[in-house]
Symmetry: C2
Subunit: 325 residues, 2 copies
């Protein structure tokens, strides 16, 4: 099942069910007005949403044509947005770029940060940049939307809490981060509003590619029309989403609608490219002595998309242009 | 005007208007079902809520008797919970306790962290502690609920965005924090669910005590029936709520219902006592060579309350008992 949120002038938009090939949709208003409302009663409402999806897929209902520009993030605002950093190659490269060591517990203790969740960007919304010296970067990631997670949940039981899968652009202001981290409280100003893919899908839509709490497919990042990354989101996700759920739920519960991110998808094989510019800059530093690629500038565009084995776009495309603030 | 949220079995509870002396309430359902719904349309709905409050205050409506145990946190879940650390005495003492230096920008750049906002505790809800070695601590704070804050908001314009004031217990697991901070991404497991005061009040209820973005009143912390802190929340709040708003809004907007905390209220004058046990333990270390006060244990109770000049409890009392997990 594929879900999305139509912009309608309200804060939370209107829930729709989207056809597998993203060509059409039907309103889900009769089942739940918003995605959050659906998640709040998922066990009861999911079968009814699936019935709508089945009607659309079978052609019994034709639906309306889908225009991705009319969509907001599946959850325009959420109660929590927790982002991991589960691809160790990314952690090592980005820390090196800041002249920082990777944490001693790199392979045993997941890194996560609590992100701002009140003002997400629509998937085609401009990235407003008041100051290019802030060092705007994209980060292409996979994210999941959780149901109610009890405290103390173990990884082996965590699969049942993954309700939906999305992509995200965890927008980062690289040059604000070192001073923030020096204060010891983590990121804040360095992480402006995040964008998510137009469509959120149930894990079964991924078929065999959803395995062990990881999405075993390639994530394509395209900068100004040029593919800069076609990274495999699967095997190198050192901590799976299930591991991350166990980590975040150690000392508290999570409410339905919590979003959990994978961190920047990153592969050791450099031919796969990058899912953020900080990595490319670090590789340039290692190979050529200094970074050559600038961070994003006004006018740049980043597209993020993932395709199924048959070439269909699974989540629709995040496509954001940088504009002056 | 004083507002609260009645537990009714739903995730967000039911909005009520509370009499100034906290003796009675009237349902606000006809105006807005929940506090978040009221905040979403505050400009339109605030006058209607104030009309209800006026009827209750004048005696034209008698209302129902208020039982604080029937209340949830004013927002049982919120879209963001951002906590500052604006009392420098606290920052200095707690860092000393971790053998860490205060940040170089202590007096010029506010410290804030992004907290989890999906599963707040009710003001009289037990603190479930699965493991006493985690080092459970309370932190008594003042917090405000914001309206929609545009990015780039300046401190001088920030007053208009403060809609409501509350107290909070920013529950902390002290012994989990050093290892988390060593990883460089800020707090996560060390900050379990936060509790807020039963009542949220509009700033005008504070009269002259609401000045320059600070609450100039004493905050009383009572541990196991003994007053351990009667700290002044006013002058030593180095960064006001207005300063904190300017800081957090530098690179993104905030949605209505965002909660912003002051950080642990702390005074240099030691006769005022403490608003968290970490401070007392550090003072003991300085004065006696080692901490003597343990962190909270199963059976302990923490009460947090603030009184107006006439002795009335402004926000009702946070009263939480530690129970085994």
């Amino acid at each position: 099942m594929k879900l999305a949120t139509l912009k309608d002038g309200t804060r939370d938009g209107r829930l729709i069910v989207v056809k597998r090939d993203l060509s059409a949709f039907v309103p889900a208003t009769a089942v739940a007005p918003t995605l959050q409302a659906a998640l709040d009663q998922w066990d009861v409402l999911e079968p009814r949403l699936r019935a709508l999806a089945e009607e659309l897929e079978s052609g019994r209902v034709r639906g309306e044509p889908l225009d991705v520009r009319a969509l907001h993030s599946p959850l325009p605002r959420a109660y929590e947005w927790v982002d991991g950093s589960a691809y160790l190659n990314h952690v090592v490269l980005v820390r090196k770029a800041r002249n920082a060591e990777p944490p001693a517990t790199l392979k045993t203790d997941p890194l996560v940060y609590q992100g701002g969740s009140g003002t997400f960007l629509a998937p085609t919304q401009d990235l407003v940049l008041p100051d290019e010296s802030w060092g705007l970067d994209f980060e292409s990631e996979v994210a999941v939307i959780l149901g109610d997670v009890p405290p103390g949940t173990q990884a082996k039981d965590a699969g049942r809490y993954v309700k939906l899968v999305m992509l995200c652009n965890d927008v980062t202001l690289r040059n604000l981060i070192p001073a923030e981290l020096a204060k010891g409280f983590g990121f804040f100003q360095g992480k402006p509003s995040t964008a998510f893919s137009p469509i959120a899908i149930t894990p079964d839509e991924l078929g065999a590619a959803w395995k062990d709490g990881r999405v075993h497919l390639r994530l394509r990042s395209t900068l100004n029309g040029q593919v800069v990354g076609d990274t495999d989101a699967g095997p190198e996700m050192h901590f799976s989403f299930f591991d991350l759920i166990q980590h975040i739920a150690r000392t508290r519960p999570f409410t339905a609608g919590t979003i959990l991110g994978s961190g920047t998808v990153s592969n050791e094989d450099r031919s796969r490219g990058i899912s953020c510019l900080a990595e490319r800059r670090m590789i340039e530093t290692i190979e050529q002595g200094a970074p050559r690629t600038p961070f994003m500038k006004v006018g740049d565009r980043i597209d993020i998309e993932m395709f199924g084995p048959d070439g269909t776009s699974l989540f629709g495309r995040i496509s954001q242009k940088v504009v002056a603030g």
